[in-house]
Structures are given as structure tokens and as C-alpha cells.
Symmetry: C2
Subunit: 348 residues, 2 copies
DNA sequence: TTGTAAGCGTTATCAT
DNA sequence: ATGATAACGCTTACAA
């Protein structure tokens, strides 16, 4: 439209700055990086030129010379699978934390037929490190990254996580705590609404660990318990709840790790006219936002997605700085927030 | 752990390939790009070496030489605001479409205090083009991009979109269609549950256009209608619905563009024991996934996020290829899918 | 059909 | 305190 369109179409490289300021290119570079003293006078002169034409160093040139990109990769599940709120929370917090450290984030959908994208990231040296989400117990992306020698951190952990860097939430412990909480309230028959059969079959850690923690706690407390798989969507949650009521009316306590099914569970409860927590108690693991949206508000371990994303970035930065340092990890077991969905077991 | 860790730690550049294959560097380059004929024999020899040591060209070096990065930027709302499902749909489909075109996607949260991230993308020439989400009627990011001369496409459009490239859904038309649909069914008093007051104040296009389309259609059909702002979350939706019932019991039809409020609206309906569509009809604009999750399923214009994201990428690629071509845009008005939430107005 | 060499914009190592 | 210059790994015009 106006002349302003071409305002910044001037050559804009360090040589041009040097020319206009009447100094050598290296001087400009040093003035910017501060890696060698530059007299205040020339520094001012250079800065003036830079401000005038709005110069910023060319990322690719810098990356080529320095051997690092100042960018990290974030590998997410493919778009075909809708992201859950929790996964979304991770993405958001990683992007946030990265921005805070002046890092750019390259998104890479994996699985599906998108291996090319992942491979570009790795072998094209587009990033200094990678954060991997939705880890499987056996995960080939992890082995690919270790053989490539690229620093990485996983959100979630594999079956044998020794030697890798990760942050995760301790599903086994959290689910166990929920069971203990229900047992303390006098419940004797409880169910776990878990993630989908497919995920379990695919070796998805959280589903496995939830199941294990549940089984162990049920055994310890001498309860009778059942594990129910449920797909990650409201409709499945509703159906799952109805079947549970129909076939196992004796159940008085439910534990769930299936955040996406919650709205369906809630609908099931309301349609069945079940009073929570008088007739039925529910506890679970979910993002706070979901727990508070549930009616009545859900007694749950709130998954600290923000904290986890931030930590993942911190760990990655550490790993990039010292690739041979001892790999650290973080297993979070946030406390259960007592809300309104659990209460004493109904008298027989 | 094992020796495999250092497997790919060898020098891996085009010169090394050339050396091992016994040809010149340029020959390797040409063999890869196909920009000049290479004899089958040497081509095979080169490919063998490449396969053996797993070579991929260094992205930064290529970007520096070619002057383009093969990456695009996707500017999203800051993490502080939870992304709605529709926004998430855009992100997913853009990433998907970009991957399909062998493009990487750099994520940049904007707004908040994240201008540095945005600025890095632009002036650091990290990307060949940008897709901008959540456009305001007056949007400084747009002007920044035009003065930088960087190709961009917006999802949504500004108040004066001439000369820019965009894809958007035609909220005015869609909301008007909903009103007409309700009017055809005999409804005389209708309400629009819009987005939040803050968004309207901030000059958020969809909210403005929904309001305008609603007002116009109501006028044309001689209905009485009211516009109700509502924050983007279930709790606000529920409260909004309750207030509507309380203060305006005469309303028999509701139109909503507030996807995130839907679960709350549904809860409100169920708690109030209102029969939909016998006593109250609801129509709206939402992602199909939400419309089908509503009970009863929501009569709604399904926002084709997948299609929009794909088109945005296509337009951007076109713009990158011919920056001075006439800017094109796409204003989508998908048909309303008749589902179960609308019916004849109740007899007085 | 293939090889040689220049140059993209930086940073870093020499000098001065 | 500053300047010239050599890389970084790639593409491509120019020679052969």
C-alpha cells in the first residue's frame, strides 16, 4: 500500500551495519556479543545504526557458524488423535518456558506417517534438543534420539528409563492414594476407569502404571476392585459409567485417570440420578481445570502441567549444556486435593 | 550406554560424502537435488554412501545459501488463555498440512509479554512466512508483518483486510442462518450467546461479526432478540443460561458461537429440566466434535478447522512463491447441519 | 558428465 | 581497541 512496505527492504546484515558505522564487521559482532571490549563511543555509534535500520542477526548464519540453533523440538501426538487437555497443557507450558529462555519451538507431529518431520528435525540439525511427549513403554523415537546423540527429555518415561532424562507424574502412587482414600472412607468395592484398551495394548505407560497402582492398593486394603478400560472421549465415559452401574451396582467408589471421559461420566451420573458423594464417591487424576469443572467438584490429584513443562525445558537446557552429565529425572506425585466428590461409603 | 551411541558421531557433511564416493561436492549436491543430470553409476555410489552414514543436509547451511528456511511460523494466543477446541483444531491442521509440504512449524505465543518470540521469528528470518491466529480488527502484528515484507496469512481477518491474505469463517452469515432457521420454526424471541465482553472490547472480529449478523437477521425477520456476552468456559455458560431463563423466560430460541461455554449451557439445561428442543431450541457455530458431543446433538454450522488450516498453508505457500501476486482470501460459510437441538417453537 | 570456486552472514583467530 | 580473514556446510554459476 504505502511506502512503508519497503522500509526494511534494505540490506540488513552485519556488514552493512559495519559500513554505516565505519567499523569492521567483527567489531559490530563483538559490540553485540560483548565477548571483547569495545569502546563506548563506537558501541554507541553501532547501536545507533542498528536501531535505525532495525537489524537482527540472521538466525541461519549464526546457527551455521555457532553449531547450535537456539531452537528445540517438541514432538507431539499426530493431529488425528485429538489432544487431551493435559497434553495441551504440556505444549502450552513448554512453549511458554522456551520463550522465556529465548528459545524457539519447532513442532513435530509424530506417529502416523509423519516420520519425515521427525527425521528432518534430527538429522537436519534443526534443533539443539528435543522434548518428547506421549512416550510408550518401548519407544523407538527414544532409541533414535540416543543413537543420533541429540539431547532429549521425555514427558513420561519408558519401561527402562535408566540413562534418560524425563519428567512424569507418578500414576501408580496417585491412583493408589485415591484407593486408600476411598478405603479410609469405608468403601469396599471400587472400580478404576482407565484409558483405552488400545493405549494399554500399545504399551502406554500411564495406563499400565495406573492399573498396577490400583491393583496393588486394592490388594493391600483387601478391597474388591475392577479395572475398566475407556476411550478418551465423553461418549465412551458415559457408556462406561452406565455399564458399570448396570452390571456392578455394588460399586460405591470410582477412581479415574481418564480426564477426557469425565464429562461423559458426569452426564451418566446425572441421568442415573445418582447422588455424589452420598451414594457414590469419585476420585481421580486430572488437570485442576477439569477437576473444578466437574459437578460436584472432583477430589483429585491435580496434574501440574505448567510445572512439568517448565521442568522439561530446564532439564533439556541442562542436558544441552552438559550432554555427558548424569541424566536427571523428576517423578511428581502432587497431593490429592480434597473436593466434593468423595465421602463415606453408604451404609448397606 | 552401548557403542551405538557414537554410531553417527562421524563428520556428516556433503564434503565427507563426496570424499567417500570419490566425486566433487557439487556432484553430490546435484545428485540430491536433481538440478543437473548425474550418471546413474555415480548417483548409485553417492546414494550408497548416504544410506550408509545416514546423511541429511544441514538445514542452517542450506537456509543460509538459499535464503529460505523451509519453515513457517504459527502465531498462537499466549498459554495463559487456554486454547479453545477450535483454535486447537487450527494448530493441528496447520501442522499437519505443513508436514505434508515438508515444512517445519515454529510456534510463537504472542500477546502477553512474548513479543520477543514474535520479533525473533520476523527479524531473525527464521521462517519463510507466518500464519497468524486470533486476529483483532486492528492488529499490530499484521502491520508489523507487512512492513517487514514477510509473507503471511491470517486465520480471521482485520477490519480492512484489503491487500492481505486470509481464511475465515463467515460468522455473520452463519449466525444469520441460525436465526432464520429458528424464525422459520416459529420462534419469535431469541438470544445470542456470544463471546466475552473483553473480547468484544478488544476488537475481536468473530464476536463483532456474530453480533452484527444476529442483529441484522433479527431485524429482517421482525423478531425480538438479545445479545448476551459470555466468557469462554463452562461455568460462565451455565451462569449465562440461568440468568437468561430467570430474566427472559420468554426466549424460545438460542444461538451460540461460544463453543467453550457449551458444556455449561448443557448443564444449565439439565438442571433446569428444560426439554430440548420441545421447550427450547438451540443452534450455533462449533466444531463438529462439540456439536455431536452436545445432548441432544446440536444443530450447528460445523467449523471446518481442518480445511481452513490446510487452505491457510496453501495460501501461504502461494504467497511465498509469488509475494506480489494478488492477495487471495477464503470466506467459508459451511452449511448448517440439522441435528436434534432445534424444533418448532412451543405453542403459547 | 563432472570439477572448481565463489559466496550466503556469522563468529573467532589472527594480527595490528 | 580495532581490522582483516578464515571458516561453518551448502548451492550454483562457470569451466572443462
Amino acid at each position: 500500500m504505502s511506502e512503508s512496505i519497503r522500509l526494511f527492504e534494505v540490506e540488513m546484515n552485519i556488514g552493512e551495519i559495519a559500513r554505516r558505522a565505519g567499523v569492521a564487521r567483527s567489531t559490530v559482532s563483538y559490540a553485540l556479543s560483548g565477548r571483547r571490549p569495545v569502546s563506548p563511543a563506537t558501541k554507541r555509534r553501532i547501536q545507533a545504526v542498528i536501531d535505525e535500520i532495525g537489524y537482527r542477526p540472521h538466525a541461519a548464519a549464526r546457527a551455521l557458524k555457532e553449531g547450535r540453533t537456539r531452537a528445540i523440538g517438541l514432538v507431539i501426538p499426530p493431529a488425528s488423535l485429538l489432544l487431551t487437555d493435559m497434553q495441551l497443557g504440556f505444549v502450552a507450558s513448554v512453549v511458554e518456558a522456551a520463550a522465556h529462555a529465548d528459545l524457539d519451538v519447532l513442532l513435530s507431529p509424530s506417529g502416523g506417517d509423519h516420520d519425515r518431520s521427525f527425521e528432518r528435525l534430527i538429522s537436519g540439525r534443526r534443533v539443539d534438543g528435543v522434548i518428547l511427549m506421549e512416550i510408550r513403554l518401548e519407544d523407538e523415537r527414544v532409541t533414535r534420539l540416543q543413537q543420533a546423540g541429540l539431547p532429549f527429555v521425555t514427558i513420561g518415561h519408558t519401561a527402562r528409563p535408566q540413562g534418560t532424562c524425563w519428567v512424569d507424574v507418578d500414576y501408580a502412587t496417585l491412583v493408589a492414594r485415591c484407593v486408600h482414600h476411598l478405603a479410609d472412607l469405608g468403601h469396599r468395592t471400587v472400580a478404576l476407569i482407565n484409558r483405552s484398551t488400545e493405549l494399554v495394548a500399545a504399551g502406554y505407560g500411564p495406563a499400565h502404571r495406573a492399573q498396577a497402582g490400583f491393583a496393588e492398593a486394592v490388594r493391600r486394603r483387601g478391597l474388591s476392585g475392577m479395572n475398566v478400560p475407556c476411550a478418551d472421549n465423553p461418549a465412551a465415559g458415559e457408556e462406561c459409567f452406565e455399564q458399570l452401574r448396570e452390571r456392578h451396582g455394588e460399586i460405591t467408589g470410582i477412581v479415574t485417570v481418564n480426564e477426557a471421559a469425565l464429562p461423559g461420566i458426569q452426564r451418566g451420573i446425572e441421568r442415573a440420578g445418582v447422588a455424589v458423594p452420598r451414594e457414590l464417591s469419585i476420585a481421580g487424576v486430572a488437570a485442576r481445570h477439569w477437576a473444578e469443572g466437574f459437578r460436584p467438584q472432583l477430589t483429585a490429584a491435580d496434574v501440574p502441567t505448567l510445572e512439568m513443562g517448565t521442568h522439561a525445558v530446564d532439564l533439556l537446557l541442562e542436558r544441552i549444556a552438559t550432554p555427558d552429565g548424569a541424566p536427571r529425572h523428576l517423578l511428581l506425585a502432587p497431593p490429592i486435593s480434597l473436593r466434593d466428590s468423595t465421602g463415606p461409603a453408604p451404609a448397606r
